[in-house]
């Protein structure tokens, strides 16, 4: 067998392997996202404390703290979230209900509950808690672009699936998401979130994987504002605990009753 024949047969074999692997990935892209959703958040109801550090022009500016109560809706498989501000002090006690189409904001100062639109829920730091707990596999249809080696937030090379997520229903906050998931571990490494016009709005890096609530999960995310790249936020999940959260909590009338202590 000549050298060129050997080379050709190896190339063909490699090509076939890549093709079959591609088919396998195409069949499982949605499952990859599902698995990664389970890595990011447990399936049982839980609460956590989200500490947000905001950077402007590279300098640390503000700290916000939110308590997030999360529970999967058995009908939609999407998370229902109740979020309460703890810091800054001027916002303490303000609460947000984010449950499918039922979105309400409560201010204890005016004791008024105001219904908000999906667009309005993106205003304010509570949106970060919502974005980080969303089950992407429910709201998006995934396809595999390929495999890539990219650096994670700690500049470590990671062998990743590169996935393309398209909004599958009107509950999806973003029109499209590019998603990098580490092979084998299903650890989310990076996400790019796009507007309807195709503009990158946010870039999220996941890091600081640690044992939390029965799994190895990212406990920190760096969220970069891709529209104004001088703005970035570090979001750290802490004080994780399983908590029984009654379904009755996820309605407007409960917001004034929500207590974090």
């Amino acid at each position: 067998m000549s050298r060129s024949t050997i080379l050709a047969s190896r190339v063909v074999a490699l090509g076939l392997a890549a093709t079959f692997a591609g088919i396998a990935y195409a069949q499982t892209a949605q499952e990859i996202v599902e698995q990664t959703d389970k890595v990011r958040n447990p399936t049982q109801p839980f609460r956590s404390t989200l500490t947000l550090t905001e950077y402007v022009g590279g300098k640390e500016r503000d700290h916000d703290t939110l308590v997030v109560f999360s529970k999967t809706d058995s009908a939609t498989r999407q998370f229902r979230n109740l979020i309460q501000y703890v810091e800054p002090a001027r916002d303490a006690g303000k609460s947000v209900l984010l449950d499918g189409r039922s979105l309400w904001f409560f201010d204890p100062a005016s004791k008024a509950s105001v219904r908000i639109s999906p667009q309005q829920r993106l205003i304010g730091q509570a949106a970060i808690g919502d974005v980080l707990t969303v089950n992407l596999a429910v709201d998006y249809t995934a396809s595999l672009i390929g495999t890539e080696k990219i650096e994670d937030a700690s500049r470590q090379q990671k062998e990743c699936w590169h996935l393309d997520l398209k909004a599958a229903n009107d509950q999806a906050v973003y029109n499209r998401v590019e998603y990098w998931v580490e092979r084998e571990s299903f650890h989310p490494i990076k996400g790019k979130f796009y507007s309807d016009s195709g503009r990158v709005l946010k870039i999220i890096y996941y890091r600081n994987f640690a044992e939390r609530l029965g799994g190895i999960r990212p406990t920190e995310a760096i969220i970069i504002d891709a529209v104004d790249t001088s703005l970035a936020t570090s979001a750290t999940f802490g004080d994780y605990r399983f908590q029984d959260i009654p379904d009755a909590w996820f309605q407007r009338d409960y917001l004034p009753r929500l207590q974090t202590k």
Binding site: V11, T65, G93, P108, A112, I116, Q119, I123
Partner: protein, 470 residues
């Protein structure tokens, strides 16, 4: 394709994938220097702050300009030229035992005005907004007893179903309806509530513990007095229920009884699109007109002579009258939220009522009984938080992170549809840090002399403030 060509193509593909990865790595340069190190050490350090409390100190200085040449002269004393208010505002909850909650909400004001003599008891005023105990005897069932601010309504500019708003607003620093809801007294009541999976049911009874008093002005407020005469001068009962009918649609129905009057109410909201929420708030019941209610209240409390006829036509006839707020909110991608509402108060001033009001007061003196009675009717509407005119429009805009992060701009226009006159307010709040906020507000009443807002004694005001949160 030759084997060599295949190999080259594969190399190009692999090299291309590598280049894509390299491009992605450029995004890492956008991570701020301070965030490049993992925050692992902070993950298990929950905050020591408490979401159940908000405490702040604020100083606000207001300058106001009076309008000359009023068509109906304003009776003395005139409104202030300047005011300085320093206050400590506290809202705090305690949980002394499992399922038990204690709440206090109040404001201690120290104020100086050009129309107040100093020092006097008028310089120090305590507003007791809330003080109550709550108990959850069963999961989802709550009983609260004490002074409670019970609010209802889904509209922003005018809330017909907010039945406990009457006479409750104390010394507001802003005309913004959202601020008016903050600066108000609760009502002494017993409240029971059950929140279930498919909805909620609330019942509240507020007993009469005091007799009705005259309308307060900024120069006769008591220093340390809960002012139950404002909030508990009648037996009042409220029953309201919300039911989840469909995903995201849970209408609220209300039944309210005050003295011998019964009113019904409803609140509806719907998410129309990604950016738009529509809402409707309605209340209705048999009642007299606003003018007749005001005259009766003035006579009962001794503010108006009980034996003298009114200068305006009187009609004590009661009929079913409605109040309505219908509108929508729209939020842009640039973080601006607009609220646009139409307001209707059937018991309010009609065009004929306005003509009678201006006609009766046109030639009166400022200290005359005629001027006093006419302005009393308007101050009654304000005290009751009731829209004076029958038809009004309300537009509000709220811009978060306007131009720069942490700058919040707010503005609203309240327009009387009979004459086009408007109340306009523009405000800016800038959060210097997590604990310091500075702000400024400008308010103007615009319109002709023969109009709702153009006939008010205050033409404009300007406020600057600084607040420190703890």
């Amino acid at each position: 394709m030759t084997a060599r060509a295949c190999a080259i193509a594969l190399v190009i593909l692999v090299a291309g994938a590598g280049a894509a990865g390299a491009d992605e790595n450029k995004d890492l340069d956008l991570i701020p220097e301070g965030a490049r190190q993992s925050a692992a050490s902070s993950t298990e350090a929950p905050t020591t702050n408490d979401a159940g409390q908000r405490i702040y100190v604020e100083n606000a200085v207001t300058l106001a300009s009076r309008r000359n040449g009023l068509l109906v002269p304003f009776p003395p004393p005139p409104t202030f030229h300047w005011q300085d208010r320093l206050f400590l505002d506290v809202r705090k909850q305690w949980s002394p035992a499992d399922r038990v909650k204690l709440t206090y909400s109040g404001r201690l004001n120290v104020r100086a005005e050009d129309d107040l003599s100093s020092p006097s008891h008028e310089n120090v005023i305590h507003d007791l907004r809330e003080a109550y105990a709550g108990w959850e005897p069963l999961d989802g069932t709550y009983i609260d007893v004490g002074r409670i601010n019970l609010k209802s309504g889904v509209a922003l500019g005018y809330n017909p179903t907010d039945f406990f708003k009457t006479r409750a607003v104390v010394e507001p620093l802003s005309a913004d309806p959202t601020a008016l809801r903050e600066d108000r007294l609760g009502t002494v009541m017993v409240q029971g509530q059950h929140i279930g999976q498919g909805g909620a049911l609330t019942a509240a009874f507020a007993p009469r513990v005091s007799s009705a008093s005259s309308i307060y002005t900024n120069t006769n407020l008591p220093s340390f007095d809960p002012m139950f005469d404002r909030t508990n001068a009648q037996n009042r009962f409220l029953l309201k229920s919300s039911v989840d009918i469909a995903e995201g649609f849970s209408p609220e129905l209300l039944l309210y009884r005050e003295g011998s009057q019964t009113r019904l109410g409803a609140n509806l909201t719907s998410s129309v699109s990604q950016s738009v929420v529509a809402y409707l708030e309605w209340a209705g019941g048999r009642r007299a007109s606003l003018i007749d209610d005001a005259l009766r209240f003035g006579r009962n409390t001794g503010t108006l002579p009980s034996d003298a006829p009114s200068v305006l036509p009187e009609d004590s006839h009661r009929s079913f009258q409605s109040e309505l707020s219908v509108g929508a909110s729209y939020t842009t991608a640039t973080k601006i939220t607009f609220n646009f509402e139409y307001h209707f108060n059937q018991a309010g001033f009609s065009r004929a009522d306005w003509n009678n009001w201006f006609g009766a007061g046109r030639d009166s003196g400022a200290s005359s009984p005629v001027a006093r009675e006419l302005w009393f009717i308007r101050s009654y509407a304000l005290d009751q938080q009731q829209q004076l005119s029958r038809h009004g429009l309300f537009l509000r805009a709220d811009w978060t992170d306007a131009f720069v992060p942490r700058l919040q701009l707010t503005g609203f226009v309240n327009t009387d549809l009979y004459d086009g006159s408007s109340l306009v307010q523009l405000g800016a709040d800038y959060h210097l840090s997590n604990t310091w906020t500075v702000g400024a507000t400008v308010v103007g009443n615009f319109g002709g002399r023969h109009s709702d807002f153009g006939s008010l004694p205050q033409a404009a005001s300007f406020l600057v403030k600084i607040a420190r949160y703890f």
